[in-house]
């Protein structure tokens, strides 16, 4: 169902949080799980997510869901840029990514855009 259409969409982190809950619940139900005890998320430093806003949004989004008591683990992925001219790889924290070796502006990211549910721990009863 259309969960993008959420109750209060004042910030995009909340719609991200609602998406997380929906995807995890779907996966949990497909395996007949009673609830979810842990969710591991991968969030890149350049994913466009304000981390504090997401953690706040998650506390609201899990209410009344199978994730209500789940431990939410946030794996923050440090962004890594790569130069398209000289192939040098370098850690970076922003979008202004001039290659530190050859000064080329033609750089892209090989890490740091992650916005992923890595794994979930499901609790099932006999």
């Amino acid at each position: 169902m259309a969960i993008f259409v959420t109750k209060i969409l004042v910030m995009h982190e909340l719609s991200i949080a609602v998406n997380i809950v929906e995807l995890v619940e779907e996966a949990a139900r497909s395996q007949q799980a009673e609830n979810v005890s842990k969710v591991v998320l991968e969030i890149g430093t350049l994913s466009g997510i304000e981390f504090d806003a997401l953690t706040f949004a998650m506390t609201e989004a899990v209410k009344g869901s199978l994730l209500q008591k789940a431990e939410i683990v946030y794996d923050i992925i440090q962004a890594v840029g790569v130069c398209e001219e000289c192939c040098h790889e370098f850690p970076t924290d922003d979008y202004f990514t001039v290659c530190p070796v050859c000064n080329s502006m033609h750089t892209s990211f090989i890490k740091g855009k992650e916005l992923k549910i890595k794994s979930i721990d499901l609790v099932t009863n006999d």
Binding site: F4, T6, I8, L9, H106, L115, K118, D121, D126
Partner: protein, 280 residues
Amino acid sequence: MCGTCGCGEDDHITYRIPGEVNLTHVHTHTHDGLTHSHEHAHHHHDHNHPEAHQHTHEHEHGHSHTHTVTLEQNILSKNELIAERNRGYFEGSQVLALNLVSSPGSGKTTLLERTIAELGKKIDCTVIEGDQQTMNDAERIQKAGAPVVQINTGNGCHLDALMVNKAMKQLELKRKSILFIENVGNLVCPSLFDLGESRRVVIISVTEGDDKPAKYPTMFETAQLCIINKTDLLPYVDFDLDKVKAAAARVNPRLEFISLSAKTGEGLQEWYNWLQKLHS
């Protein structure tokens, strides 16, 4: 209260064509911890569920097991799936779909009015308008002569692929036309949500700071074209065109630029050429 029909739902998204009563009305509501939305024609019915749906998850016998499932799933995968459906539809019907993003007040609607009046003589133009509230923009577009649907997102800060999917079903998109999707005025949130567009166009105006690309890099990184609007005001403001282009190019070296004034018409031909080249 719902501003469209006066019913009690606080949060809703509406899809309306100016001059018509709203055709579709999407309500989101929650019961038993599940939020879901549905659309219906404009009538009222009660959303209360007289019977409780709760049931316990406790079992007296047996014991519980925990196992880890690797999902590796993109959080925005649902949006991306719908965006790809939209994109497939646009490709199949040879519609050039553009996602126009900017801060509020950059002149998106004025640019569209002028584009519809001028380029619209040669190419069919259709518009999806996104705003939190009001039909103002849709009414302006309709006056300019293009079919339009207004999406009011309520509290929403961006359009998503599903909203566009619903809105385009209310438009009779012609083959080989251009669909302009005017996103909610916001330089942050819309950058994450693929709508299925062919190109993303970011618009800034010279009355904004020339450090916009540095402040809001995500939007400039994901766009293919940057329009710098209101160039007629350049003599009166401290806005350095070269500086803003250099700042944006650092974020996105492939970004194209067109400077124009939707008011005086300066630079508009370049914009039309850009559109016609993609359209052909």
